[in-house]
């Protein structure tokens, strides 16, 4: 969940500044123009989605879908409204637009972990009766269908793709430290052993990075903390009881593991970890330049390096390897992964719900799904796409990361989740900066959770 695109100048430079000023003026000008669009007709569909300079695959998909859809449905106008923002800001902007029927889009790009709370809010149209009549729906796999399900069991969103998380390692750095590749750690200690070897072989190298702190937001939990926590015997949320777990040993152990990584300087420095742009350095500099041994990242990682990606690096197919994240002591099922993914949904207030759903099916047909899945290194959710040679040949890691679906977990996406996630991020930050011990940080987390969701929704372990 990590493709924010902030244009940050590396250093102060008058010419860059001028460019920045000019582009700010340009932005204002475009804003002024877009306010003067002609009055909406009856048959206009408004589509809202995310676009950044490192994520344009969706923009391509919608442009193609718009062209085909307008040609096939005379008199219909598809109005594309890309929002250029990172994941957090996109979510905020979309939620604000959804609050009022006047501004709510007809079809929009929706994060799976927001589906449930947005269904609660009444923002999403129930799609069951439409999906029955859509033949392609049969080719979506079961896990994908579950991703768009609301608390009432109805389906409210159709997934575009999913992802998993794994260890991405630079083979050269590992080999230099005498570690055999392909590498597959079995326990947390295996990771620490390998990281210490890399540090000993080259003190300049960052051996094993895992995100921490609030700056990397969901990246901290999805690509770091949950891989640890879900590999212990504890969990974040009890699905049966529908309660948040506090006081678990696994939580403290996970924090202690991060502390070890940061204290022994096996990960990046705390200051680097707390810069929201650290992931750009991981993808853009440290891994390609062999300055980092390994990191935990999403299955979409190749999309940054492949041709047309934001950090093109032809050598990644040779130099990089992928491994499962191990469980704490190697207990069953022997690996951990986390999954998220994005969906398309139809607004509950759409004036043309039939047409909006028709557009959704156009956008998600086999051809569009395939090109989007390949361009953004997603894991296919349509079985007919998953068996396409183009998909399997997109990059050398498709098979490995797709297999992780068998050990993957999903976030407990209740309306309380964003606060819980923030509390976890605060705990990791306190531990890596040395402000609190793992035990103290876990106690503080427990207290925060109790304060935020109330004792009735908490399960003491």
């Amino acid at each position: 969940m990590h493709r924010p695109a902030k244009l940050l100048p590396a250093k102060f430079h008058p010419a860059r500044l001028l460019v920045a000023v000019l582009s700010a003026v340009g932005l204002l000008a475009t804003a002024a123009c877009s306010a003067e669009q002609p009055a909406a007709e009856n048959r206009t569909l408004k589509i809202v989605y995310q676009k950044t300079d490192s994520f344009s695959a969706l923009d391509t998909l919608f442009k193609d879908a718009k062209r085909d859809f307008e040609a096939a449905n005379q008199g219909t106008t598809v109005e594309l409204q890309p929002i250029e923002a990172n994941d957090d800001d996109y979510g905020t902007k979309l939620a604000l637009a959804l609050r009022s029927a006047e501004t709510a889009p007809d079809v929009f790009y929706e994060d799976t972990f927001k589906v449930r709370s947005d269904v609660d809010a009444g923002y999403l149209l129930k799609l069951d009766s439409y999906l029955e009549k859509w033949d392609d729906w049969k080719s979506f796999n079961e896990a994908a269908k579950a991703a768009g399900t609301g608390d009432d069991g109805g389906i409210y969103a159709v997934p575009l793709g999913t992802d998993t998380r794994a260890i991405w390692y630079n083979k050269k750095v590992l080999q230099k430290a005498g570690i055999a590749v392909p590498w597959q750690p079995r326990t947390w200690d295996d990771i620490l052993d390998a990281a210490r070897k890399m540090k000993a072989a080259d003190p300049e190298v960052v051996p094993f990075n895992m995100y921490a702190g609030k700056a990397t937001g969901e990246g901290t939990v999805m690509q770091s903390f949950y891989e640890l926590l879900y590999g212990t015997d504890s969990e974040l949320y009890d699905q049966q009881e529908k309660k948040w777990v506090v006081g678990s040993q696994g939580f403290t152990d996970s924090l202690a593991f991060l502390k070890t990584l940061y204290d022994e300087k096996l990960a990046v420095t705390p200051a680097e970890a707390l810069d929201a742009n650290v992931w750009k350095k991981v993808f853009g500099e440290w891994l390609p330049q062999g300055k980092m041994g390994a990191t935990v990242e999403g299955s979409y990682t190749p999309s940054f390096w492949q041709k047309g990606g934001s950090y093109e690096w032809a050598g990644y197919t040779e130099d990089m390897g992928v491994a499962r994240f191990p469980t704490q002591r190697g207990q069953e099922p022997g690996g951990v992964s986390m999954s998220g993914g994005w969906t398309l949904a139809v607004g509950a207030d759409s004036k043309n719900p039939d047409l909006a759903f028709k557009f959704l099916t156009e956008a998600l047909n086999k051809k569009n799904s395939l090109s989007f899945t390949v361009a953004s290194s997603q894991i296919a959710v349509r079985t007919d796409v998953a068996s396409e040679p183009d998909y399997l040949a997109a990059n050398p890691f498709v098979k490995d990361v797709s297999e992780l679906v068998s050990v993957t977990h999903y976030r407990p996406a209740t309306a309380d989740y964003p606060r819980i996630s923030a509390a976890v991020q605060v705990a990791t930050e306190a531990v890596i900066t040395g402000a609190l011990s793992p035990q103290e940080a876990a106690e503080q987390y427990d207290k925060t959770v109790r304060d935020q969701v109330g004792d009735a929704k908490v399960l003491q372990k």
Binding site: T92, R99, A215, D275, P418, A422, A430
Partner: protein
């Protein structure tokens, strides 16, 4: 006759009506809405998104038990006092005072440099400040060039960095206000004091400052209220971090309202901010009134 006069007086107010209406619509209405929302559980998503319920003082009692809140009030006060009242205000006065004595070319140059920071849109100024203070930024490169070891300013001293950045950005306004005020100080009084043997500092304290007192009060009011509301600068530079070390009230309100989707709680924080602004405003108005006595 009397009635006609009052009708005419009322008619005179007519041209003002549209602007008053606009002010009510665009300034008073959002404030009232925000105040109203702070007594509800309004949210960005989830069950309460479209049908928020009245929860009375719940949000405010939660504020009192939230450890982040008092810390944030303290940081806001530090930010206002250090960057507005001391930084922008005193520095602006100092520069304006020096400019009255400097050669014209020097004062033009200094004036342009100071105003340049103020002319920048806030977001651009914020990025420039980020680029200046960040770990491999301009400041550390300059220090490195001089053989000094820098620090990771945004991480180790986030408040210092944002205070300096806000001082840099806002000093121009105070400078302009004080230049105008100093230009209005009658020369003959100053000269008379000089004849009576008053030293430089005595002329400043007993002649100049009392004469520009109302400008000082007005300037303090404006820079304080503006600094209380600073959000973009801090958000871009530190995003309130690390570990809430630079989370002032506007940043806290934004996090609660938009990151956690809790609009009710976020607007409660915003209401506290409004009250804080009122307290400052009343204090300065009293300062102004004292002047007229």
């Amino acid at each position: 006759m009397v009635a006609r006069k009052s009708v005419r007086q009322q008619l005179r107010l007519l041209p003002v009506v549209p602007s008053v209406l606009l002010m009510l619509l665009f300034l008073a209405a959002p404030v009232l809405w925000s105040f109203h929302a702070s007594f509800t559980n309004a949210a960005l998503t989830g069950r309460n998104a479209r049908n928020p319920a009245w929860t009375g003082l719940d949000n405010y009692s939660r504020l009192l038990s939230d450890a982040a809140f008092p810390a944030s009030v303290v940081l806001t006060m530090v930010f206002v006092v250090a960057s507005a009242i001391v930084g922008q205000n005193l520095l602006g006065l100092l520069i304006a005072g020096l400019m009255t004595r400097a050669r014209k070319s020097v004062s033009t140059l200094v004036g342009t440099a100071v105003v340049a920071a103020w002319v920048l849109p806030e977001i651009v100024a914020a990025f420039a400040a980020y680029a200046y203070f960040s770990n491999d930024g301009t400041l550390n490169q300059l220090l490195g060039g001089a053989g000094l070891a820098g620090a990771d300013w945004l991480y180790a001293f986030p408040m210092v960095a944002v205070v300096l950045a806000n001082t840099w950005r806002g000093t121009a306004f105070s400078m302009l206000v004080y230049r105008a005020a100093l230009a209005d100080v009658p020369r003959d009084i100053s000269e008379a004091a000089l004849m009576d043997g008053a030293a430089g500092w005595q002329r400043l304290v007993f002649i100049t400052l009392p004469l520009i007192r109302s400008s000082i009060a007005t300037n303090l009011m404006l820079v304080t209220l503006q600094t209380l509301a600073v959000f973009t600068l801090i958000w871009v530079m530190t995003a309130g971090g690390p570990s809430n070390a630079s989370t002032t009230l506007p940043v806290l309100a934004y996090q609660e309202a938009f990151k956690f989707g809790d609009i009710g709680y976020g607007t409660a924080i915003a209401s506290v901010l409004i009250v804080l602004g009122l307290v400052f405003g009343i204090a300065y108005v009293r300062l102004l009134k004292g002047d007229r006595r």
